[in-house]
């Protein structure tokens, strides 16, 4: 039997161990068809990693798409039940690659929790994200951010929706100089300008940022968010991932869809993030769902290069 395992590539081994991990933790596999109605993606175009979708016409004239994403289908097919629906997937998706500008088949794994998302669920998802990274390589880091802290701080400083968008974009670039300039242009007070800049400059291990984090407690929204983040940190510490986590608000997701905790996983030697996730209650509301949701995806196509 041993030689059967030898046949597997590193990528396949990882993908199987991820499935085993999610299975052990009570997640059930979500299988879906290769196609989905195009309509689903048009309505939520910005949620997709790339806006290009491969489409074709079904025999009855309906426009279908080869799925570019799994999360939207899972949400669409979820029912408003009490409790939490926990699923994982391991599917091919079809996206335009940045380099060749042509469609590629990409293997993606991930999990979603849909329902009454509370701290316990959030902490479980974060722990599984850390465990997923550990399965891929021990040299990993999970970078955690909280969108409600960003949003709350910017609201407190009186930024309108367009200015907020601009700051969030610069935050993703860690472009503290441009943020400082923007704050001057917007004529923010000195204290507020410094507070906004702190969203870039405050990052690092939870211990390192602990003191500075208190400065963000400017209103009820951020106060609640900080408490939630701290609880998540404690849970990850207890699960043995103390040295694997970093707080960094440059992890930003589109706030039209996402809220709450957002995170990204990195492996040393892989130039882009390999795991990406967060809470997306706003997307749930847009899709007329009653409950909250959180999940993450692992981009397995990036793994072929690290080998073993």
């Amino acid at each position: 039997m041993d030689n059967i395992l030898n046949v597997l590539t590193a990528e396949e081994k990882i993908s199987l161990s991820l499935r085993a991990l999610y299975n052990e933790n009570g997640y059930s596999q979500y299988r879906m068809s290769k196609f989905e109605e195009y309509d689903l993606y048009v309505k939520n175009k910005d949620f997709l990693v790339s806006s290009n979708v491969l489409t074709f016409t079904d025999t009855n004239g309906k426009l279908l798409a080869l799925k570019p994403d799994v999360t939207l289908s899972i949400i669409k097919n979820s029912r408003d039940i009490d409790g939490v629906m926990k699923v994982y997937y391991n599917e091919n998706v079809y996206r335009v690659s940045k380099g060749t500008k042509s469609f590629k088949e990409i293997m993606q794994a991930g999990l979603e929790c849909i329902g009454a998302v509370d701290n316990t669920v959030i902490n479980e998802v974060l722990t599984l994200a850390c465990k997923s990274l550990d399965l891929i390589s021990k040299n990993n880091i999970l970078v955690i951010s909280h969108l409600d802290i960003i949003s709350g701080v910017l609201d407190y400083c009186g930024l309108n929706i367009n200015d907020k968008k601009q700051v969030v974009k610069l935050l993703g670039e860690k472009n503290v100089f441009a943020i400082k300039q923007l704050c001057e242009d917007l004529q923010l007070s000195k204290e507020n300008s410094i507070l906004v800049q702190k969203l870039v400059t405050v990052y690092g291990t939870p211990e390192k940022v602990a003191d500075a984090m208190r400065d963000f407690a400017v209103n009820v929204q951020t106060g609640k968010a900080i408490a939630e983040l701290n609880e998540a940190i404690t849970a990850l510490n207890n699960a043995g991932f103390k040295d694997k986590i970093i707080i960094d608000f440059s992890v930003v997701n589109d706030m039209k869809y996402y809220n709450g905790i957002s995170f990204k996983g990195f492996i040393e030697g892989v130039p882009t993030g390999i795991l990406s996730g967060g809470q997306y209650d706003n997307l749930m509301a847009k899709m007329d769902k009653k409950y909250q949701a959180i999940g993450f995806a692992v981009y397995l196509d990036e793994l072929s290069r690290i080998g073993g």
């Binding site: 040393e268 892989v270 882009t272």
Partner: protein, 209 residues
């Protein structure tokens, strides 16, 4: 194997200026000044490694992780929107992205404006932000020729002093983005080589003042 911090610098005058800043920041590499055909220059004690690449390629090296950090013009960052951190404005290589045309050019808004440029995305974004319908003529060099030969109505290009424009009877119509060299970093490298990247950024920031 020792882990080096890879630094991509833009070939040419700007790159030399930027290297001098690294040297003053304490991140030097003596062999770089020797006249040789070497492509990569290492300082083993500091654990850093420099290499020169075409200025427009720096962002690609950094985005794809072949270089951990690098120095690229804001024009390149605006044109290609690479997924990188933009850590510092080095305040050198200063110029502007500008619209230029023949002297006394008046924009006839009933017609589609023909724009010749190397910076297709920047031009598109700029004109869509002011709601002007345009046609793009993508060129790779000698952009100034386009309006003279009536290939285009205007050009979108980098303007430093404007003397090339003047000599050819062209003039700046509007400068719309200031450009300068930026220190950029790969998002993943930043997580694993945080200390040295932070140190370089801080020391360069002191020099920039």
């Amino acid at each position: 194997m020792k882990k080096f911090l890879n630094i991509a610098l833009p070939k040419g005058r700007l790159g030399e200026k930027v290297y001098d800043m690294f040297e003053r920041a304490g991140y030097d590499c003596a062999s770089i000044k020797e006249n040789s055909r070497k492509l990569i220059f290492e300082n083993e004690d500091l654990g850093i490694r420099f290499f020169w690449v075409k200025p427009s390629d720096v962002a690609i090296y950094v985005e794809r992780g072949a270089a951990d950090i690098g120095v690229a013009g804001k024009d390149i960052l605006l044109e290609y929107s690479p997924e990188v951190y933009e850590l510092l404005d080095l305040n050198v290589g200063k110029c502007s992205m500008a619209v230029a045309g023949k002297k006394n050019f008046v924009d006839d808004r009933t017609k589609t404006l023909r724009v010749a440029t190397k910076f297709v995305n920047i031009a598109k974004n700029y004109y869509s932000s002011i709601g002007r319908d345009i046609d793009i003529i993508a060129l790779n060099g000698s952009i100034e020729l386009a309006p003279i030969l009536d290939l285009s109505d205007v050009i979108v290009d980098i303007v430093e002093t404007g003397s090339t424009l003047k000599e050819n009877n062209l003039e700046v119509i509007e400068k719309f983005v200031p450009i300068s060299a930026r220190l950029i970093a790969n998002k993943s490298s930043f997580k694993f080589k945080t200390e040295i990247i932070e140190d370089i950024t801080a020391k360069l920031a002191e020099i920039v003042g």
